[in-house]
Subunit: 476 residues, 2 copies
């Protein structure tokens, strides 16, 4: 049952939020459970996460980092050691108060992030400049007590990696912060085909306890922005709160300079909202659990299934390939695999076998190609690369179409009234202006892009001297 | 500092528990934190876990299972659905009672295991015999509120995989239970070089909610047993409690038959206690993060470091290789790498370079070999395989030395008074006898081995008709 029915999804233009919910559930990425705000990541969704994780983990290791694992629980007193940090996180942590029947002497929070645990450990193991840098990362689940949740985008619990590093100098910590932001940007652009804007968060939007936060921001199909990865220079604030000191080459005692950076399952939400369409998911080949799905036509006829399974074996050399030999009708299968965003479909029936050819169908453009058997491997490799390129280009074009500029407050308000997208506008650096913009437009400052332009000399809000170009947007 | 001091470890025979603690901390596997009963898994320990995890994950996937991810929290009412299950786990769960400042309407437990979450999901997605089997696995952290904890062996939080499957028939569920126990046994014996006894748990020792539990049991250097992996046939108890039903081929409505099986970070404790010695860890090559450590001798002399780094690059083809080019003395380095259990050390100095040879030193036997450069790759491959074999053989011999038989209760008590190890003895199947044995000897039934022998016809405790041969031991 179930699977054989047409899975209707709401059209994007009708209700984007409902479209998203339809896609994540009907493409079998997630299921809900009786645990409020949490999601079950189903095999197809988790395979996607494993691919993303493997790509990122190898980049993290190649840049010299080591994986560790810290405890899930943080004693309340430890979380309170760094003032800004606890202020930022206290409202959204889950508290464990009982173990078995016993009431705990001190409450434990379920980690919302692990800075304080890393700091406590670093204090134990760092003594000399020879112990630096320490470049650690962990893959873990974290919990943030969100009121309103949506699968992948904002969930009570999510999966992520969190990097935590210690350096001898401010300059080295700065370099690390930039390096890891670039790793995230590379992953987004070259694996997930999601173009990003790199920049710095304003003080209002930076991480609780950070000196500054770098971010990559991407734009969804509906014109809303999504923070896709952040990298923080923590300065020596945590080091001072936790007493993480080292003896420098000259014998002096110094506090370490720290960074942290994180990338989460949220990116799957971005991938869906950047590439998806009214037929469902569209997954970039570089991260697709299945890159090529073989659908035998008239599979009851002699030789068809054998031939199709033979192709599966051969083509495994050039792609992650699967075969759908279920007893559903081909049309149902096409819908199903399109819904799941599989980049390429291969159709092969008795006539194709006779003619030594197959049909390839692209998920991104819908194009169908007749390919002769002797050119098949090359054509698949070439087409997967072309789909990857095309998805990135389409996303970049969409972002450009939806990127506007505003020179004064009236323009800014007018744009956010009738459009959604990035708005580039100058800012004086004053938090009051940032808050007023949010209040009157619903948009927040996404970042001060590294690539600065001077589109005006006046703050878009107050008209005073502008200091920075800022990307503003309504955001997830 | 720190690292340059000799790291003394307590001798095994003096105090085995202290030896264990010394090894796990001084070999940099773990660190303690202010979170009671939890451990920080440091880079070397985590690299070990990653290797174990990769080996197991590929076996789990090869046997047709898919990875998923379930929520961390379980609402109290959901945990209570299966009566035996909640009785078994309630005393050892951590309870979340507050989110931010808000008191929760219903307490959430931090998962001690995820049967009930899988069951709730399976009820949603299983309708027909076509949906079966469902073969799911998850890699996750779980929490059990233990009073007394020891790194890896018993910790408040640990990492594991938990498989959860649904089948149409009791027979298929049985086959799955056996298959996954065999996967665990294969991993233990062929990767971790730990010989295991396969068998069934008594009803007293089985999993809370299971029909029966299969287990692999291993024997530590001190003669205590360690349960190293379990695989449970859950029958239809959970299915009935959760209403997981499917329409069978004949149109009838049936409850699914379920299994679950788990393997944890605890196995690292077993690896340490099976292979370690008074100089520290001994890691089997198949799982060692570093299989070969190159130590340059007189590395300040011209050409030595270049030569050593050249070797590192070449030898990466045949082993996981690293180089210690720090400014510590070679003797310190030897101690350090022996402490860390690195299977092979390669020493190379100016004279070796002149003679086109190197020295290889085995961690397991201490043997040193002069190897000519042109035979080096073959010799390394061959020696690593030999170390792997040797460790398994040594562990098997130790287990045989420490496996005893008892024909009556006096013998049993006498053995456990003066020795530690496995004791094979017959049992009538009565829980009272099992409890009396535990009370008077401190030993528990480890398993009823699949390979049964009849060493007597009478129960070792009560003298009545014996039903099963049981392995008894004091256990971790």
């Amino acid at each position: 049952m179930g699977k054989e029915f047409v899975k209707d999804i709401t059209a994007m233009d009708v209700d984007f939020a409902q479209w998203y919910t339809d896609v994540v559930t009907k493409a079998d990425l997630i299921d809900y459970s009786s645990v409020r705000g949490s999601m079950i990541i189903r095999p197809y969704g988790y395979a996607l996460w494993e691919n993303i994780k493997n790509e990122l983990d190898s980049r993290i290791k190649e840049t010299g980092h080591e994986n560790v694992y810290m405890p899930l629980f943080i004693p309340e007193s430890l979380l309170q050691k760094e003032k800004d940090h606890i202020e930022g996180f206290a409202p959204e942590v889950a508290w464990v108060t009982h173990g078995g029947d016993e009431k705990l002497a001190e409450r434990l929070c379920v980690r919302p992030t692990s800075e304080v645990l890393f700091c406590e450990h670093y204090k134990n193991i760092i003594h000399s400049y020879r112990d630096l840098p320490k470049l650690y990362n962990q893959w873990a689940n974290v919990v943030r007590w969100e009121k309103t949740t949506r699968p992948f985008l904002r969930t009570l619990e999510f999966l992520w990696q969190e990097g935590h590093t210690c350096h001898a100098t401010d300059e080295e910590a700065h370099e690390e912060t930039v390096k890891m932001l670039n790793v995230y940007a590379d992953l987004c652009e070259n694996v997930l085909a999601i173009p990003v804007v790199k920049g710095q968060k304003t003080d209002k939007e930076k991480f609780a306890g950070a000196k500054y936060t770098y971010t990559i921001e991407s734009l969804m199909h509906d014109g809303k922005a999504l923070q896709s990865g952040t990298s923080h220079h923590l300065g020596d604030g945590f080091a001072k709160a936790f007493g993480i000191q080292f003896t420098d080459k000259d014998g002096s005692l110094q506090h370490v300079q720290q960074t942290s950076w994180g990338f989460t399952t949220r990116i799957i939400g971005a991938m869906i909202m950047v590439h998806g369409d009214d037929r469902g998911l569209v997954i970039p080949p570089n991260v697709a659990p299945v890159q090529l799905m073989i659908v035998p036509i008239a599979q009851h006829k002699e030789g068809v299934l054998d031939y199709a399974y033979g192709l599966k074996e051969t083509l495994a050399r050039v792609a992650r390939v699967d075969i759908d030999a279920s007893d559903k009708k081909p049309g149902w299968k096409f819908n199903e695999h399109e819904m799941k965003g599989i980049p390429l479909r291969l159709e092969v029936g008795p006539k194709d076998i006779e003619k030594q050819q197959v049909v390839l169908a692209r998920r991104d453009t819908g194009e169908k190609m007749i390919v002769s058997a002797d050119q098949l491997e090359a054509k698949i490799t070439e087409t997967l690369a072309d789909i990857q390129r095309n998805l990135f280009e389409k996303a970049r074009e969409l972002r450009e179409e939806k990127t506007f500029t505003a020179l004064n407050f009236d323009e800014l308000k007018e744009i956010f009234k009738i459009k959604t997208g990035f708005v580039k506008a100058m800012w004086c650096g004053d938090r009051d202006c940032e808050e007023q913009i949010k209040e009157e437009t619903g948009a927040t400052s996404r970042c001060m892009p590294f690539h600065q332009e001077t589109i005006s000399t006046e703050c878009v809000c107050c008209g005073k001297d502008a200091k920075k170009l800022v990307y503003w947007a309504k955001a997830y």
